[in-house]
Structures are given as structure tokens and as C-alpha cells.
Symmetry: C2
Subunit: 356 residues, 2 copies
């Protein structure tokens, strides 16, 4: 059993705290540990460190080494450039296949918040059994607590049984992020769950699925595999990555395959997608404010205000996010947090590289 | 004829641009020159530099010297501590009296915005004539253009004539900053004008009025006067200032004296009292925004956003003032700008002296 942590995200939605070399998974949000460190900790009781792989972007090598020092350095796999989740998981799969062709891999994003760790472990272990029994691709679906528009959804068919009290279902369809009306319909229907981004499958089954659904990616990966440990490896990797399509595992594989199952993840899960979610998850004072650093508020309610250095004063505002960090300040109405990533694009256009 | 520029203000309403050593009169707002430099320029055609006096706080000596290098250094009078306008004008009066007992002084705040300079000069020169003719205290009143609640008002009685086409009136009462309903009533009545803070009178007449209305201050000033140019001067000044009451010329003198006149100041005047006024006076883009520095706005309207250093991004906001300067950021709804000075008090309480 192996664990693959996908740590290649750029996380521009947490600007100005997240920066090019320091994306979301490296931030300490709601905890002293970084998100990737908390993710590693979550798998500590499930697999030994030598069976944990991390896939990261080459450009983040310095930062990643600081956060994943517990696992063998040879288990950190670098992509020359991010190409979404299907190539990322595929690359980890060929490394694991070389070591253990019968391995089962548990794939996890590096930057989500999960609580109720023992229930999480139990769910993962049940999913591993299911993957073994069914020779299928297993997803973890989270029962939705609200009509969230920021998450993908998975629609389930009938229950196929349960393992250790964790119910399992056949998957009917994957749905992209819905609008509010659709999200409400999903919530009411009872057969749509949040797509947690957690996947469990045998390496062999996944690679077979890749061969079927994304043959170009599959052949590229097989080429890379032949050069692992050889001097030409980096060049071949670069060459393949230059050509392959950027595509998610959901869209590229999961939606096209019949043999896909879902295990119900009844633990607390949040993808920590933006500042508004961090606000929602934080302890608030009697005015509904969340403060950190040297902050002065007057007549201000339901706001998230953070000053990493320096001081921030907010007067007469409501429902805002204010984050001051490394010479940059974000002031954003909470219902506009999805636009934060656009700021990073504007900074690029304006060549303000220092703040990206 | 002498000019006295009152430059002892602390101007905390422009935090975080204004700081303890750099108060409002030293800022360059809406112009490359600082407000005090623009004020000096305004008097250049009215009196020679050697007849211009500046009264400032001792603690701002370094900064003031940079801005008023044109006038003789002996014309810069320092107060050990600010005690509002009556002591400030009184202190200047005894210096001028020593030099010219028959002098007429024109008193002006250092930090107001005035346009239509030739009309301003003409008004001042007419007021000097009126002061000479009437042996009274002359104020300049600005015809109100809106029901401003941030200004004091002066109510006039009948017209007493005009000098060089500038009408003069007997003053009936002084009114403090009104609420909106009262301000509207003042505006409708037609006999209330904004109190510009500009005063014109013979030194002898002013000191006589001081003796009558504020005898303790008068006697303190007479004591100081005896030590001008002597080694004990600083000690005596300090001793007197420690004891005297902090009081404005309006409240301490003008309201109590019968022989007070007003000349109508039909030039553009603004006291630049806060960030919202600066916003109103600035050129706006098509979304009603005023920007300076490296600023990125998304879905933002009618806002004032300034980044002296670093970068500021504002998303989804309306009617806000955002000012980033020297490690501090202010985020303030425009209808709350009067509370900016409270931030400075909070910073003192929190001992964040670096940002005061």
C-alpha cells in the first residue's frame, strides 16, 4: 500500500500570503503545521514513510524539501511543469509500479483540511480493501452539508455493500462545480456527494485505465519509466511533459470508466479553497471578526483581517477579507474571493513579479 | 503687515500617511508641494518673506526646517507643546509686537487647500484695510456650497460695506460643527458661512482682546515676551505653556468679543480635513476611482486607493479608502473617515509607536 500526495498546486487564491515559491500547501492555515505537513501526518498511521510519495513542481523543490523531510528524498517526484492531476498521478504510478507491480495507491491532495483522523484512516483502509476486491477505481465522496458551488460532485447509484461499516456505492456520474440552483438540487436529491479529490486503486488497474482513456499520456509515461534512474531521465521527462495534455483524473479517466466506486467519507473535509472558507472555519469574536497580527478594527463586522507584518486598521466595513503580507495588501468583499486569483494574473501583466 | 502660519497641527486624520513627525501640513496632497509650502507661496505676493512667521511644535523642528527654508529661521517660533490656536496666535503676536507695535497680522492655518490665488490675495488685502479701519477682529467666511458637517460656521448680521468689491459684515455668532439637519438649515438661511480659520487684526487689538477674554494667557505671554532673546527664554516658555489652558481663538476670543467682522472669501477653500475630502477633490476614472501607486482594482467603484510602496488589490468594494504606507494599511468606508484619528489613539494604547 502506497500513498501519493499531490503537491504541485499553485494556490493563487491565497494571495498575498501564497506566492510563486510558496503556494497553498506550504502555508500554515488554521494550524501551526503547513497543510502538506498535516496531510503527511494523516497518513502516518496508514503507511510507513518509505511508502509515501510526493509529486511536486520542480520550481518548488527548495520549499518542498523543508516540509517533507520525513520521507525519503527519492520518494519526492518532480514534474517539470504542472499538467493537472492525470499526469501527476500517472507519474507516481510508474515509480510505484517499478517497485511493486501489485501495489495499491492512495492519492491525496496536499492542501485540504481534514478532521476526525481515525475515521479518515478507517475510510481509507476500507477503500483499499474495496479497490482490491473490485479491481476498480475508488473515490471518496463527502456527504454535502450545504449547496456548495465551489466543489465538484459525484452522483452515486445503488449501494454495493459496506466494509467496516463504511458504505460503498457504484458511481453514476461526475459533475463539475454547479451553480447555486444546481447545487441545491444536488443537495436535495441525496445521491450527490462532494468530490474530495481522494482516489484509491491498484497501480495496475489505474495504468490500464490510463491506457484506455488517455493512450498518449500512457505511452509517454511508459517512455519515462524506461529511463528512471538513468542519466537521460530529466530530458525524457521534460520532452514528454512538453507534449502531453493538461487534464484532470476526473475528466480524463474517472468519467470514462465503468468500474468506479465511491466510499462515503463521513469525516470533516474542506478543500480550503479561498479566504472566505478560512474565515468560515475560524473562531470568531463577538462581532464575527477573525483577527491575526497587529490589527485595529472600528465599527467592523464579520470580517477576516490579518497583518503578517506591520499594522492594518479597518473602519466601518462588513464582510471583508483584508490580508497584509510581504508588501502587498488584499482588500476583498467575501463574496468576491474567487477573483483573488485574477489579481495574480494582473500582477503578471503589470510585471510586478516581486508580489506574485 | 505680517503673516502668521499656524503649523502645529498633528493631523492624525491622514493616518497612515501622516505620522507623528510628519503631520498633515508636511504632506503633498493633490500637489507636488507640501500643504505648508503651498500656504507660504500664497502669501508671497502679499508680504515679504521676512514678515512671515511660522508657529510650529518643537518636536517637528527637523521636518519644518525642510519646508520653510525661504523664511528667516528666527521667524520660526516653536511651541513646546500644542495648546490650540489662542496661545499659538498669542505667541506670534508678542514676537511681532516687539518688532512693530503697529503691525497688522494675517493668521492662516498651514494645511488648507485654497485655489483662485489672486482673489485670495485681494480678499486678504481688503481684510487688512478693514482691520485697520474698524480696529476689530476680522474673519474670512466662505459661502457654503453644501451642508458640510465638518466645518465650523459663522453667522453674519448686516453688511457694513465693502472694500475693493469684497463685502464685509458684522459677525453675529460662531457655531461649532453642526449635525446634518442644522448644517442644512445654515445653508438655507443664507447668513451662515464656513469658518476658514483665517483671521486678520492689528497685533495691539488682538492682545487687548486676549487681555480681556483670556487674562491668564495674556499675562503668561507678557512674561514670555520679557525673556525673548534671553537665555531663560526656553525655560519660561515651557513653564508658561505647562500652565496655560488649551483653547481655540474662536471659542476663547472671537465668540466673546463684540467688534468682530467677516469678509466674504469667494475663492475655492477646503480644509482637507480627511481622506474622503481628498477623494472628492481628486480626478476620478470612469468607475469613480482615484488610484495612486501599484494598485489593482476588480469590481470596485467610487474608491480612493493608494499604495506608497508595495501593492494593493481591492476586489468587490465600493466607497472605500485604502491607503498603504510605511508598513501600515488603512481600510475605511468613506462615511467613517472621521474615525481615522481614533486608530492613532488605539495604536498608542497598543504601544505600536512605530506606526504612529
Amino acid at each position: 500500500m502506497y500513498c501519493v500526495i499531490m503537491a504541485g498546486g499553485s494556490g493563487t487564491r491565497f494571495w498575498p500570503r501564497s506566492r510563486e515559491g510558496k503556494s497553498k500547501q506550504f502555508l500554515s492555515i488554521l494550524s501551526k503545521k503547513s497543510l502538506i505537513q498535516s496531510t503527511l501526518e494523516r497518513f502516518r498511521t496508514i503507511v510507513p514513510w518509505e511508502n509515501v510519495y510526493v509529486v511536486a513542481k520542480k520550481s518548488q523543490q527548495d520549499e518542498i524539501e523543508k516540509h517533507v523531510s520525513k520521507i525519503p528524498s527519492t520518494n519526492v517526484i518532480y514534474e517539470p511543469v504542472g499538467k493537472n492531476t492525470a499526469p501527476c498521478i500517472g507519474l507516481a504510478a510508474i515509480f510505484i509500479q517499478r517497485k511493486d507491480p501489485n501495489g495499491i495507491m492512495v492519492v491525496s491532495p496536499a492542501d485540504h483540511l481534514i478532521k476526525q483522523k481515525s475515521r479518515f484512516s478507517k475510510t481509507i483502509l476500507s477503500a483499499v480493501q474495496l479497490a482490491d476486491q473490485k479491481n476498480g477505481l475508488i473515490t471518496i465522496g463527502i456527504p454535502p452539508g450545504r449547496p456548495a458551488t465551489g466543489y465538484g460532485y459525484i452522483q452515486i447509484d445503488g449501494e454495493v455493500g459496506s466494509i467496516d461499516d463504511i458504505p460503498a456505492y457504484k458511481v453514476k456520474t461526475f459533475a463539475e462545480k454547479p451553480n447555486l440552483a444546481t447545487a441545491q438540487r444536488f443537495l436535495n436529491s441525496g445521491d450527490f456527494l462532494w468530490n474530495s479529490g481522494l482516489f484509491i486503486f491498484k497501480v495496475s488497474i489505474f495504468l490500464k485505465a490510463l491506457k484506455e482513456c488517455l493512450p498518449e499520456l500512457y505511452h509517454g509515461l511508459m517512455k519515462i519509466k524506461r529511463y528512471i534512474g538513468k542519466p537521460q531521465y530529466e530530458n525524457v521527462l521534460m520532452q514528454v511533459y512538453r507534449q502531453i495534455e493538461s487534464i484532470s483524473i476526473d475528466y480524463g479517466v474517472m468519467e470514462k470508466i465503468k468500474n468506479v466506486y465511491l466510499m462515503k467519507g463521513e469525516f470533516f473535509w474542506n478543500d480550503m479553497g479561498n479566504w472566505e472558507q478560512v474565515y468560515q472555519l475560524s473562531m470568531k469574536d463577538k462581532n464575527g471578526n477573525v483577527l491575526s497580527g497587529d490589527v485595529i478594527l472600528l465599527n467592523t463586522k464579520n470580517s477576516f483581517v490579518s497583518a503578517a507584518k506591520g499594522v492594518v486598521a479597518v473602519i466601518g466595513c462588513e464582510d471583508v477579507v483584508v490580508v497584509q503580507e510581504k508588501g502587498a495588501t488584499l482588500v476583498c468583499k467575501q463574496d468576491h474571493v474567487e477573483h483573488v486569483k485574477t489579481v495574480v494574473q494582473s500582477l503578471k501583466r503589470k510585471k510586478l513579479h516581486k508580489y506574485i
